[in-house]
Symmetry: C3
Subunit: 272 residues, 3 copies
């Protein structure tokens, strides 16, 4: 996996030069972290969800990130309109189906977005991705259910990718990225990442940053997910797992300090 690691390192340099504008229609729980993660890695965030501007903002952006963490009727409509606009203009759409499996609204919205919008990368935890793959899920809430861990994340990622002609990034103890054929296993990160809200949302946004900088979808997915994992490892080495405020801050510190050399040295990638 020297190749993809080096690609990511080089795309990160390009990302920092291009500073792509990333339009996020996202949840209000983690939106500040999403914006700061994008700035930290070198992208430029813009949050806009009113139906009277959302397509126009998408049109000037380099990537669109859709996150249904606190979806509502008003923003669902904006997500779909912006997604279609992005498709029409060839702008990559990264989708985070937060809590898919946990309510009919989240399930229906997830499927509606997948039917109406061509997704470049779908990033979710195993419960969310299992739902998208059509498996029964036992998720409670927005965190992955342990009961769903019986699902094979490689099979789930492949199924999602094939069903929706996208790259699927299924994150968890190990992160799996697949385009339906290729499978890359990212074993960066640490369990402590699940003790801060928003680390999944940030990973999704980072995928958007790479994609917005012109990285191919597969490499963008690996790059975003690996960046988040590496930031988590660095944060853990500084703050441990009993100081979650400090760990949270250390994640952003690590992202803002990330560069090609660190990626090359720390990324743990394995092609199945």
């Amino acid at each position: 996996m020297n190749t993809i690691r080096e690609y990511i390192a080089s795309y990160l340099t390009e990302l920092k030069i291009k500073a792509p504008l990333v339009h996020c229609i996202t949840n209000y729980v983690t939106v500040n972290d999403v914006a700061n993660a994008l700035l930290a890695i070198g992208a430029s965030p813009i949050m806009a969800d009113d139906i009277n501007e959302t397509e126009e903002i998408t049109a000037i952006s380099s990537a669109l990130v859709i996150n249904i963490g606190t979806l509502n009727q008003r923003t669902i409509e904006s997500m779909i309109l912006s997604g279609k606009k992005a498709n029409a203009l060839g702008i990559p759409v990264v989708f985070d189906p937060v809590g898919a499996g946990a309510s009919k609204l989240r399930n229906d919205t997830t499927m509606e977005i997948l039917e109406q919008v061509k997704i470049a990368v779908l990033r979710g935890n195993l419960s969310e991705a299992s739902f998208v793959a059509g498996l029964e899920v036992s998720t409670k809430g927005v965190d992955s259910s342990e009961a769903d861990e019986i699902n094979d994340s490689i099979a789930v990622a492949k199924a999602v990718a094939k069903d929706f002609h996208c790259v699927a990034a299924v994150t968890g103890a190990t992160d799996i990225i697949s385009d339906g054929e290729r499978v890359v296993n990212v074993s960066n990160g640490c369990k402590t990442l699940s003790k801060v809200t928003g680390t999944g949302c940030m990973a999704t946004a980072l995928v958007g940053a790479f994609a917005g900088a012109g990285t191919d979808n597969f490499t963008a997915a690996v790059g975003g997910v690996a960046s988040m994992g590496i930031a988590g490892e660095i944060a853990f080495s500084k703050a441990g797992n009993t100081a979650m405020g400090s760990f949270h801050i250390a994640i952003i510190d690590a992202l803002s300090n990330l560069n090609g050399e660190i990626i090359s040295r720390m990324a743990k990638l394995y092609e199945e």
Copy 2:
């Protein structure tokens, strides 16, 4: 007060094992801190406020936290529907009437929620609780008014508890918890807590975490309020009162490090 201190310590252990899902319909100012405080103490947060999913999310949760800090017509309806659903299913509802006394909308919504939803624990500052108790208040905004400090917080807590058949937690220089008969005085915390937004909201959410883990309402109220106070004391010892960003982070650090031993050692409880 050895007994209640030991109960809380033991319930905290249980909370960490059960990791109860806590559904929050809350304000967008402090929502990130609320989610991180819940994760830090060992619970699992979910924020959902759309009318098309809110009851369903309540139904899979172990507690519901309603906070009117940035209420609007859309979310008020969701609060009431979710509250009724929680009542029907026997799920405890914790209510934070942020800014009650400051506007007709907040006053009317507070009373409507109290009329339509059976509350397990109401947590508010002295201005808010005084309004709920039917006293005249001079609150300006969402912080407690000094003019309202003439009200006797023990009398206010008792009145709220009796009037609405709930546990009342009135927080301030000293925190008072009452079920109408028993009164526990929690003298943890520090003045610096009022210099960071969201410490009240976090305390309310922590009460929800304890209640969601099966703690009885009275002990849950004391436990949540004492946990926040202890976290404030620890944060103060690390960051003082002229570094409010660091203090803010140190609160989350302390919550994530909290355990039964710290509760037993630091909780300052006094039964009136």
Copy 3:
């Protein structure tokens, strides 16, 4: 510029005594930082945007801050109603036209607010202020466009101030404050401030804090902008520019530690 520096130092003392209530109708991306920046400098924040309470909350406040960062139909109406209420009661209105130039909705809303509400201070980056001044802008998103840097920020600030009979604060590498005649150049701050979301929003809110404490609009604008710049310099000296999480926290630390002596010593003001 000894005079204005000393005025600011003395007004800051007054601000801390008065603790003015500052009503913010603002965006959900940076709202937590805005609230904490206001608390840190000694003001009291309240966020309320529902049409059924927004005028009432404005009426009990000492300043109104309008920020269109994540505007939507619901909040636009509240911004205008609250602005008119503030005008009727003589309460200063500080306006941050976030992303003006980037979408028709932002452009139209900016102009509608400027037509219907008498603004005390408008604070924006050079792209936003250039749009308000009627110049062509090439802004992409909410960050100032480099292409717009050809505009002369002094001329832009003067034009905005004259056109809308307000004080204009145009922030960037150097911050320019003008009432149409006088021009003060504030050269505090550092480039790193642009790598954290919300530093512009916080500066706007700080202007609101000064104005709410009774500071004249011109001095309030210089005071708010200089306070943010000084906090940025102090944060940079602590965290550098490759640890953006720590830098973010250090900004709030510095604001909470700010006093007249630090203002007098560090403010870099130059009257053109």
